[in-house]
Symmetry: C2
Subunit: 350 residues, 2 copies
C-alpha cells in the first residue's frame, strides 16, 4: 500500500506507545514521557527524530502511536518533512505495532525500530550502529541493538552474543531481567549486552518470520492494513481485525523464536530513563552531586535531584533523594525507592 | 495605673514577641508561630489561654505583644472575658516586656510569665507548678519554672537546683546551652533542670530587683508606663522612653543577678517546639513512626512527618525526614538538619 519509497535509505519506525507510571507526576496519561523535555530542551520524542535526521542515511520517519498522541506528535514534529503517523487502533504491545509498520512499507524496506522515550547520549555511535544493523537486516537477520552494559543492572533484559557475523553476532540466548547476583555474573563473562529495545528488520523478512511464529497475528495485521484508510500523512489501519490480536512484545513473539536473530553492539550512552533515579543519573551533577532544576535552595545536601515546575523548593540536610513538583502534586523519594513510584495511588489513579 | 484588681489570683502575663525563622515556611512574619494550630486544632497562643482559664486560680490574662499582632490576638482570644493587651512600642527582648507588665499591675499582684509559643501536654501539672511558683513569688522570690529533663538536649539552658525551699529550690547557677557531652553530665547529676522560660514574680518585687540590677531600664519602663495611653482592653506605653532601652533577656538582666532566684520543678510534657524536629516529636505517630497531616500517600516510609496545607504529597522510601508544604513554598529536610532551616534564603528573606 501507499506510494512511499525510502530510496534505499533506512526507515526509522518510532514507537510512541506505552504510558509508564514510573515518572509520575511529571509523566501523565495526557502528557506521557516521550513528549516531555526531561533531558535538555527537546523532548525525548524530538531527540528520537533528531537522531535520524540525516536524510542521506534515513528516510522520513514513520511514527506508530495511539490516536490520543497524534496532536502532540504533530506539534512536536512540525518541522519534519515527510513524516507519517501510523495510528494504532489500540495498544497491543510492540509486536503488532512493529508488524503494522512493516506491512505498510515496501517489502524490501529496511526498518529501524526505535522507542521514543529512551535517551541516547552519543548520536554518532547510534548512527554507526544503525548502519551496521541495517546491513545485517538486508541479509535477512532480525537484528537487536545490544547495549554494552556499564553495571549489573537488574532492570533490563540481557542478550548473549553467539557466533560472529560481519558487523555483529548471532543471538545465543535472551535472559529476562536477572537478579543482582546473576547480573554480576553475566557482566563478568563479557558475552552479554543489554537489550535496548531497538531493532532492525527488512519489512518483508519480518512479516515472513511473523507468519511462521505467530500466523494469526500476521493474518490480522495483514487484514488491518489492507482495509486501512490513508490521508495526508496519516495511516489508519482498520480496528476490527487489529483489536482481535493477542498483544505480545516483539521479543516474545519473534526475537526469541526466530532462527535468524542477530545483535549489533553499541556503546552510545543509552538509558531507558525507566524511573526517576535513571533520569537523575542521566542529568549532569554539580560538585555536591546535586541536580537542581527550577527555583531551588539547597543547604547541606548531597546527591539530591530537585525538579520543580513552579514553587520554590528548599532542601536541607538530605542525601540520595529526589523531589519532584508538578502542578498540584509533590513527590519525595529516596533514590533507592524510585522503582516503587508506580505503586503510588497518584500514579495508579491517572 | 488602671483599676485592674486580680483579687488575689495569679495574673497570667503571656508574651507574644519574637519572630522565629525555624518553623518557616509555616511560620511567617505576618503569621508567626504562636498563632498557628501546630498541635491540635487550637493555636499555641489559644492553648496558652486555655491553660490559665480557671478563673478561681487565674485572673484574666495580660498579653504583651507588638502592634502587628494585636489583630491576631483579638481574633483568637475573642472568647476570653477581661483579657487585656499591653502593646510593646518595639521588640526589646523579654526583660523590658515583663517589666512593662509588672509596672502596669498592682505592686502586690503575682504575675505568671508564659511564652505563647511553647507546648505543654499536661495542664494539671502546669497549674500545680504555677501555684507552687506563685507561693514562692509571694515571699519575694524571682521564680523560674524548671523542666525535668528527659534527654541531654543541647538547645536549652539549664538551671542547677540549690538549697531547698518550701515547694522549690534556690537557684545555684544557670548554664547556657551546653554541648552534648556537658548536657549528658548535667543529666546524670539529677541536680539540673531545663530553663522553660516560664517565671513567677510579685510585680513590686520584680521592679525593685530591676531597679537594683538595671536601674536605667527600670526608670525608662516607669516613664513609659506613666505616659501610657489606655483604652478599653489596650494599654499603650509611651514609645520614646521605651525605645531608648537596651534590650535584654529576663535571664541576663535579672535572674542571673538577683540574690532571690528560685526554681520550681515541673514534669508537664513541655516543649518549646523550637524547630520542625521538635514539632514532629510532639505529634502522635502511627505504627511506622510517621506523622502525616494533609493529603499524603506514604509507601515504604518510616519516621517521616509530612504537613501539607493543600497539594497532595507522595512520599516513597524515605526515613527520618520532614516535608512541609505551605502555599508556594516546599521544604524537605532531614530531621537532623531541622536546626538549619533558619539559614535558608526563604526563611531569611521574610
Amino acid at each position: 500500500m501507499s506510494g512511499f519509497d525510502p530510496k534505499g535509505r533506512i526507515v526509522p519506525v518510532i514507537l510512541c506507545g506505552g504510558s509508564g507510571t514510573r515518572l509520575w507526576p511529571r509523566s501523565r496519561r495526557d502528557r506521557p514521557k516521550p513528549f516531555l523535555p526531561l533531558l535538555g530542551e527537546r523532548t525525548l520524542f524530538q531527540q528520537s527524530l533528531d537522531r535520524v535526521s540525516d536524510r542521506s542515511v534515513f528516510a522520513p520517519p514513520l511514527i506508530v502511536a495511539g490516536e490520543g498522541h497524534v496532536r502532540l506528535i504533530e506539534e512536536q514534529a512540525s518541522q519534519v518533512e515527510g513524516l507519517r503517523v501510523l495510528v494504532e487502533p489500540t495498544a497491543k504491545n510492540t509486536a503488532p505495532a512493529i508488524a503494522l509498520a512493516a506491512a505498510s512499507l515496501p517489502a524490501d524496506a529496511i526498518m529501524l525500530v526505535c522507542p521514543s522515550d529512551h535517551y541516547i547520549e552519543y548520536r554518532d555511535a547510534f548512527v554507526a550502529g544503525a548502519k551496521g544493523a541495517a546491513a545485517l537486516a538486508r541479509e535477512g537477520y532480525m537484528v537487536a541493538f545490544g547495549i554494552e552494559p556499564s553495571n549489573p543492572e537488574t532492570g533490563y533484559g540481557y542478550i548473549r552474543r553467539g557466533e560472529a557475523l560481519r558487523g555483529g553476532h548471532r543471538i545465543a540466548r535472551f535472559v529476562e531481567k536477572p537478579d543482582r547476583e546473576t547480573a554480576e555474573r553475566l557482566l563478568q563473562t563479557r558475552d552479554y549486552v543489554w537489550n535496548g529495545g531497538i531493532f532492525a528488520f527488512r519489512a518483508g523478512a519480518l512479516l515472513e518470520e511473523l507468519h511462521r511464529h505467530r500466523p494469526e497475528m500476521a493474518d490480522l495485521i495483514g487484514e488491518s492494513i489492507q482495509q486501512a484508510q490513508e490521508s495526508d500523512a496519516k495511516i489508519m489501519p482498520a480496528a476490527p481485525p487489529f483489536t482481535r490480536i493477542v498483544g505480545e512484545s516483539i521479543d516474545y513473539a519473534l526475537m526469541e523464536n526466530t532462527e535468524c536473530a542477530a545483535v549489533v553492539s553499541a556503546d552510545m550512552g543509552w538509558s531507558d530513563i525507566g524511573n526517576w533515579d535513571a533520569l537523575m543519573a542521566a542529568r549532569p551533577a554539580d560538585p555536591e552531586g546535586n541536580r537542581l532544576a527550577g527555583p531551588v535552595d539547597a543547604v547541606e545536601c548531597r546527591n539530591v535531584m530537585v525538579d520543580s515546575d513552579g514553587p520554590r523548593v528548599s532542601v536541607v540536610g538530605i542525601e540520595d533523594a529526589i523531589v519532584v513538583i508538578d502542578g498540584d502534586e509533590v513527590l519525595v523519594m529516596s533514590r533507592a525507592a524510585a522503582q516503587s513510584v508506580g505503586k503510588l495511588p497518584g500514579a495508579l489513579a491517572q
